[in-house]
């Protein structure tokens, strides 16, 4: 049990004070100190996880989730569709369009074959686009899932659905569930850290890393790559570390005096949380300081200290995982390739985004591997949905782009017990629908939890009269065992 969470684990605290009830009244100041240490020790002895967790041997201890917000076009990156190229420019067959709703496409759209070349890579011979030369290099560590599908085709609901299992606001995100269930490994850092690049937060806002109905302590802590890494982390101007330490000592002592009079367990918790805050003040800036990395590492990621970039965030993700952070969530903005102009098309914008992310992602995989961390770190790469096999051509745009598409998209996973070098599932000839071994978003969530040693049906929280869970209460979800090594 880590101090960061102990306050919220009411049961734990009750448990501790339940055990100690006999002596509490007589507790003197000095013994309270010991009690604090014992409280931490007692809770730690219970382990950082909920009772009974993990449910079975975990394959991964950490997750790095790389979310390409806006959703990349699978046709340009992983889902090679020669038929689409062959029929490029022809109207989309009517049977596909019957009853379909699109975000922007109107009338009968035309098929769009990819302008990019695909080549087989690695021992597995997996086909990867020329846009991703570095990821191609790591392909034997990667399991590509081409048969993903989702229920929503607007950004915000689809992002919520992917991260919280429900398209509406108000539910805990995957990282919150995991930290709630498994706890954290580092007493000085939050267990769930969020890093954002591309200049903008995801469409669904901070709710995609919110804790929903779970206690707020489980929400993702957005660490910022410029300014303070955690809000309000820095001491006031003019207050040195010594002054802060002396003022915290005074707060602690006065709180103890009060505790003697009231015996409120919350007071003990608060004393602990102020200490935790102090430790975070000391640990977080260091953990977040990539300038401490050697030049060749910075170079391999393409990271440059001081800026806000996806490359920096990848390197940070490795540093955080290395220090025991349970769930690192990266969001990168700018993948919504509609083709309304140069800024969002697949000829100019997409190669730019691939250029920004391809090298750092490959560096991350290789860096983790070299450090022996890839085995228990699961990397997931995805958007929130797919993109249409048709050119969107909004307002007769001359730029090539694709509309939102829920029926098929590609994600990949690596490390953390994932079987590398495989391709899972296929789409139909035109890549319109996921066709073989379909994987629903809830199945992906169930699989991620499974890799973390959790039965997704058993990690629940009672809310609104139901035992809520990440994979939702209505649909039956399936762990994708073929993806697991």
């Amino acid at each position: 049990m880590e101090p960061l969470f102990e306050s919220l684990r009411e049961t734990t605290r009750r448990h501790f004070f339940g055990q100690c009830k006999v002596g509490i009244g007589a507790m003197a100041l000095a013994s309270l100190l010991a009690e604090e240490r014992r409280a931490v020790a007692a809770s730690r002895a219970e382990g950082s996880a909920l009772p009974g967790l993990p449910h079975f041997r975990p394959r991964a201890k950490h997750v790095i989730y790389l979310h390409m917000a806006g959703s990349p076009p699978q046709q340009e990156l992983f889902d090679h569709k020669p038929a689409l190229k062959k029929h490029d420019g022809q109207p989309c067959p009517a049977e596909y369009l019957e009853g379909e709703r699109f975000a922007f496409i109107k009338g009968t759209p035309r098929l769009l074959g990819t302008p990019y070349e695909f080549r087989p890579h690695g021992r597995s011979g997996t086909l990867v686009s020329e846009l991703l030369p570095n990821i191609s290099r790591c392909i034997d560590d990667i399991a590509v899932v081409k048969s993903m599908h989702t229920d929503f085709f607007n950004h915000a609901p689809a992002q919520m659905f992917l991260h919280t299992g429900v398209q509406r606001f108000g539910n805990p995100s995957m990282g919150s569930w995991l930290v709630y269930g498994l706890g954290s490994e580092n007493r000085n850092l939050p267990g769930f850290v969020v890093l954002v690049s591309g200049g903008k937060v995801p469409s669904a806002g901070k709710s995609v890393w919110g804790s929903g109905f779970l206690p707020t302590i489980y929400q993702g802590v957005q660490c910022r790559s410029s300014g303070e890494p955690v809000l309000y982390l820095g001491d006031p101007r003019g207050m040195s570390r010594d002054v802060r330490r002396r003022s915290l000592d005074a707060i602690r002592d006065l709180n103890r005096i009060r505790y003697e009079q009231h015996l409120d367990p919350e007071t003990v918790t608060r004393i602990g949380q102020y200490e935790m805050a102090f430790r975070m003040q000391m640990a977080v800036p260091g953990a977040m300081d990539i300038a401490r990395e050697p030049a060749h590492v910075l170079e391999s990621y393409g990271a440059s200290p001081g800026g806000a970039s996806f490359a920096n965030n990848c390197l940070l993700a490795r540093r955080l995982v290395e220090q025991g952070v349970r769930f690192v969530q990266l969001f990168d903005w700018g993948w919504d390739a509609h083709g309304t102009g140069k800024h969002d098309d697949i000829i100019h914008q997409l190669p730019k985004k691939c250029g920004e992310t391809d090298r750092p992602i490959a560096a991350l995989i290789e860096d983790l591997k070299n450090r022996g961390l890839l085995d228990d770190t699961l990397i997931v790469w995805s958007g929130e949905f797919g993109r249409t096999p048709m050119n969107e051509k909004r307002n007769n745009s001359k730029f090539l782009g694709r509309d939102h598409h829920p029926h098929a998209f590609t994600i990949w996973m690596a490390g953390g017990g994932v079987r590398g070098g495989i391709t899972h599932g296929e789409t139909d000839e035109l890549g319109y629908f996921a066709a073989e071994k379909k994987v629903h978003v809830h199945d992906l969530q169930a699989t991620i939890l499974h890799l973390m040693g959790i039965d997704h049906e058993k990690l629940t929280y009672r809310f609104m009269g139901l035992d809520q869970r990440l994979t939702g209460v209505t649909r039956e979800s399936h762990v994708q065992h073929e993806l697991i090594a």
Binding site: P3, S7, L8, F17, K21, V22, I24, G25, R101, A103, F104, F153, N154, H155, A156, R168, F169, G199, K200, V201, S203, S207, G210, P215, T216, I217, S226, G227, E228, L231, Y232, L233, G234, P236, G238, M239, S240, V243, S247, A250, I251, D253, L254, N255, I257, R258, Y259, Q261, L263, D264, E266, R270, Q273, Y274, A277, R462, M464, G465, L466, V473
Partner: protein, 1020 residues
């Protein structure tokens, strides 16, 4: 606690577990079914076809041919056989421990007694029970205490002693107005030895305008009030008038039944005014999705479902949301019940539109006051305009003669007339021009060159629009109905030698007739030529005239030419003049007369005795509008009217019912999906509850198609509703004590917790809805006068062990303050807090980069001046990025209704109150206050600071500890002037003359320490 509750359970309901062997279904049977059986045999899952949720299902013959429950025959009931089966494969429930002997016995007795499914306790109307008898009633101040003492006696627990006065006034102030008491207030209360000192303190606090702010804050979580629309774009929404309505409603103690009805159906009340319309914004706080490509109907339905769920959550403590997909898994609500209830709310006009319509524009109280003052001034100015004096009478006489004798219009010869198009303009004998009938009639401009003749002057120009049989509908325009739209006019003088062309400035215009929204004034100043101009519908077919007056008279020399250009630029073609004539005059009297309606000119030319009374009155009126003597009064009136028109009342989204011919039919949605509608339903309330027509009211309605939202609101706000009173009372209790009498204040159903003091809950509910006539202030007064509320919150090891959550109320409440109070209290004790109430939400300082807005360029701009020190409830609330320091203290995003906020205790909270510049500034301000007002020596300053922050003087140990801190920090900052300067002034600005930076910095550290104490952040 299990033991405790079991003990509590015994005397709860008369007849429970009596000697006859009958059994209390709600207490002894249903909890077992709910905990161990419903998961597989309930509303969602029906394994083996069995549901134990309803009696008819539980007793039905199953696919296997067996019956789980055979009423009266325990031995024949499969349920009993299975729960007692020896074989683990047979035994139910399949996982976990077998049922206990007591549970099985209760089931057996219950089935033997006929397996009656008693109504769940919260659906049985509350009733006052007789007060229990106590062995010792020393510690009893009222009925509340009798109930609490009874359970304490049963448990053999002794309550703590009463809290001291300093503790009590701080607790009461925080609870009733959300702010700490001032030192003066503490002194006054501590020194008040009259027997009703406490009661008078309550009355003072209940009467404070701060009261409404504190209690509105709570309600706004329920109402999911926010300043943005939510979803991806999360654009701004103007709905703060609703927030102000809630504050005002609490302050005037609007009865809770009326408070309820106005918010749910204020628009349908027979006496609905602006206030009632504003109240309905309660349900317009649902989110609106303006992302491209979203289906408005999908999100309209989502909003209506949210209204259904919120209504049930807020007023009836029931999680109704599950029922949208399937019958309630645990409570007696069926799938159709949801949609029947939804039908009440499904016929409002709003439909997820970005502009939030329908809205209502209502002046704020401040605006109303200004409007009232303006109206008063206008009335007196108008009175002045109408007043008679001899001077005015004489002036009117002169004026009448002048306009009567004015020279007429002359029509100059037309030297040339051309059109921008190829249209030919033919001069007729009367000097008018006619457009050839066969010419195309697009937009056009005509240019006339006129010969005014001998030297003279030009004061005004008249344009006559004349009918002609060759024109459509006889003209005078060329539109199919004879109309035209004149967009602009330009008049210039070309000197006789052609050397110069001078534009004639036209100052005003009038016409004998103006089409609605097409006034002639637009010809002179046209906001949008495609949409505005002078037109005459529905008076086409008749002659019309417009007079344009020159700003100053123009002298014309012989041979000068006049050039007149008439523009037609209306958005549709054909709206051009077909026949027209231009005349001029140089007589100022003619100009004066030109402003006068022809009928008045005629009247002026007759002798006074020949005028009718109406004509005389009209003459007088027109004179007063034109007389130069009255120009100042008219200017005053114009200015007042301009200001009146400039007051723009804010608009607020409201509920408005669709007209009868546009009403929607409500369908049951299969599994809650709006794309999958099943059978149609009519509005109605769940069958498991009291009927709709039990609700009193002048429009009582029997349900079915005639039942409306108002009937639903009255059904909720009725003393006959078993839930409404209990839920409201419980929520207030929860605010004061931290835990409600029903701990799960969001769920009074089977899955919620049972009340710890059911008789007290019912007694309070009956008092509230009956004796107190739903008055919140009376309810609060009743609770805070109890001995239970006034107890010391100090625990003993025994109490902590017996009752860690203080469910038995042997001690007073001790709770961490809620987010807004943490802020408000820091600003209050440091003296920064602004007391300004109401108005648009404000933006206190927030770290850069917190708002990253995807689409709109909206940004966070710190409010200027005292607005950055406003109370927390006025903070701008963006749903996708709420104010971060308050979120750290468990404020909610307000995307959905939140019944209960969590009370967490996290390091991120410590970082806020230690380091957030808002709190650093408060510490700096507190330091200056202490140094200036707290005396000279350290001990007296500490005593002052303690009383400011905590309401009590420090004990010696505390003085000792903080004196040591003062000493060390003084030494530190004396040695580091830069640090001292920074810490003393960084947020608050330069220190006042004569104050020492090192001293201020040291006391800023102390202020920061005090504002981070557990005791400061806690109501104790």
């Amino acid at each position: 606690m299990v033991v405790l509750l079991a003990l509590l359970a015994v005397p709860l309901h008369a007849g429970g577990g009596d000697a006859s062997g009958s059994v209390d279904f709600n207490r002894e049977v249903k909890p077992t079914l709910a905990a161990r059986c419903f998961k597989c045999h309930g509303g969602v899952k029906r394994k083996s076809g069995l549901s134990l949720l309803f009696r008819d299902q539980a007793t039905a013959r199953l696919r296997s041919g067996k019956r789980a429950i055979v009423p009266g025959e325990a031995a024949a009931s499969e349920l009993l056989r299975r729960v007692t089966a020896e074989d683990p494969d047979e035994r139910m429930p399949p996982d976990g421990k077998p049922l206990t002997a007591e549970q099985i016995d209760a089931l057996r007795r219950w089935i033997a007694a006929g397996a009656p499914y008693d109504t769940h306790w919260s659906l049985v109307p509350p009733a006052k029970t007789t007060l229990p008898r106590l062995r010792d009633s020393r510690d009893v101040r009222g009925a509340i205490d009798v109930f609490i003492a009874a359970s304490l006696e049963r448990e053999g627990i002794e309550a703590t002693r009463p809290a001291d006065r300093a503790t009590l006034i701080r607790r009461l102030s925080l609870d009733l107005i959300g702010l700490p008491p001032t030192i003066d207030e503490i002194d006054a209360f501590e020194n008040d030895r009259s027997p009703d000192a406490y009661e008078r303190l309550i009355d003072r606090l209940l009467a404070s305008p701060r009261f409404g702010e504190r209690w509105a804050r709570r309600w706004l979580d329920l109402a999911r009030y926010a300043d943005t629309q939510g979803y991806e774009k999360d654009n701004r929404r103007t709905i703060w008038r609703y927030r102000d309505w809630v504050i005002d409603a609490f302050n005037r103690d609007l009865a809770y039944d009326r408070f309820t009805i106005e918010q749910l159906a204020g628009d349908l009340l027979p006496d609905a005014g602006n206030n009632q319309l504003l109240a309905t914004a309660f349900h317009r706080n649902t989110m609106t999705n303006t992302e491209g490509g979203t289906d408005d109907e999908e999100f309209r339905v989502a909003a209506v479902m949210d209204r259904v769920n919120t209504t049930w959550q807020v007023w009836m403590g029931t999680t109704f949301g599950c029922v949208q997909c399937h019958s309630h898994p645990y409570d007696p609500f069926k799938h159709e019940d949801y949609y029947r209830f939804l039908a009440f709310l499904n016929n409002t006009e709003d439909s997820d539109k970005p502009d939030e319509r329908p809205t209502v524009a209502t002046p704020t109280p401040e605006q109303s006051r200004r409007i009232e003052a303006l109206e008063r001034e206008l009335a007196s100015a108008r009175e002045l305009l109408g007043r008679s004096t001899p001077e005015l009478a004489a002036a009117r006489q002169r004026w009448t003669e002048q306009i009567a004798g004015a020279r007429g219009w002359t029509t100059p010869r037309v030297e040339s007339a051309t059109a921008e198009s190829d249209v030919a303009l033919r001069a007729l004998d009367d000097g008018s021009l006619l457009v050839a009938a066969d010419a195309s009639a697009a937009n056009d401009a005509y240019t006339l060159r006129l010969e005014p003749g001998d030297r003279g002057r030009l004061t005004a120009l008249r344009l006559e629009a004349l009918p002609h049989e060759s024109l459509p509908a006889n003209g005078p325009g060329r539109a199919p109905d004879g109309n035209f739209v004149l967009s602009g006019i330009a008049v210039s003088v070309v000197l006789a030698d052609g050397s110069e062309e001078r534009l004639v400035e036209l100052s005003r215009a009038r016409a004998d007739f103006e089409q609605k929204d097409f006034p002639v004034a637009h010809v002179l100043s046209n906001p949008d030529v495609a949409r505005h101009g002078w037109a005459v519908h529905p008076q086409a077919g008749k002659p019309h005239e417009a007079v344009f007056v020159a700003s100053s008279p123009v002298e014309l020399a012989a041979g000068d030419r006049l050039v007149v250009r008439l523009e037609h630029r209306y958005g549709q073609p054909e709206f051009t003049l077909g026949r027209f004539r231009v005349s001029i005059t140089g007589d100022p009297a003619r100009v004066a007369a030109g402003d006068v309606p022809p009928a008045v000119v005629q009247a002026a030319s007759r002798a006074p005795e020949e005028r009718t009374a109406e004509e005389s009155a009209e003459l007088e009126r027109v004179f007063r509008e034109l007389a130069p003597e009255l120009a100042p009064v008219r200017a005053r009136i114009a200015a007042l009217e301009k200001e009146r028109a400039s007051i723009q009342p804010p608009t607020t989204p409201i509920l408005r019912e669709l007209p009868a011919d546009r009403r929607r039919t409500t369908h049951v949605f299969t599994r809650g999906s709006f794309l999958d509608p099943a059978e149609a339903v009519e509005p109605g309330v769940p069958q498991a509850m009291h009927a709709l027509d039990d609700a009193p009211g002048d429009r009582g309605s029997g349900g079915g198609a005639s039942a409306d939202r108002l009937a639903m609101a009255r059904w909720i706000a009725s003393p006959g509703n078993p839930l409404t009173g209990r839920v409201a009372v419980n929520r207030v209790w929860e605010q004061l004590f931290g835990i409600g009498l029903v701990e799960t204040s969001e769920d009074f159903g089977t899955q919620g917790t049972l009340p710890t003091h059911p008789e007290l809950l019912d007694w309070l509910a009956v008092r509230f809805t009956g004796d107190f006539a739903w008055s919140m202030k009376r309810l609060l007064r009743e609770i805070v006068t109890s001995a239970a509320y006034r107890r010391s919150s100090a625990a003993t090891p025994e109490l902590l062990a017996r009752d860690p959550k203080n469910l038995l109320l042997a001690r007073g409440p001790r709770l961490r303050l809620e987010a807004e109070m943490v802020r408000d209290q820091s600003l209050a004790v440091s003296g920064l807090l602004s007391s300004t109430m109401f108005g648009p939400s404000v933006m206190p300082p927030q770290p850069d980069g917190v708002w990253q807005v995807v689409y709109s360029g909206d940004s966070w701009k710190t409010s200027p001046g005292a607005d950055k020190y406003r109370r927390g409830l006025y903070t701008f609330w963006r749903r996708t990025s709420p104010y971060p320091s308050m979120m750290a203290f468990d404020a909610t995003s307000r995307e959905y209704c939140t019944i209960r906020r969590l009370r967490t205790n996290t390091p991120l909270q410590a970082l806020v109150t230690l380091n957030d510049p808002v709190y650093v500034e408060a510490a700096q301000a507190l330091a200056r206050r202490i140094v200036r007002e707290g005396g000279r020596d350290v001990a007296s300053r500490l005593r002052y600071a303690f009383r400011l922050c905590l309401g009590r003087p420090p004990v010696d140990l505390e003085i000792e500890r903080l004196s040591a801190l003062v000493t060390s920090e003084l030494e530190h900052f004396r040695a580091d002037a830069d640090a001292a300067h920074a810490l003393a002034t960084s947020e608050l600005g330069p220190a006042p003359e004569g104050l020492d930076h090192a001293e201020l910095a040291a006391w800023t550290v102390v202020g920061n320490v005090l504002m981070n104490l557990d005791e400061f952040l806690t109501k104790g």
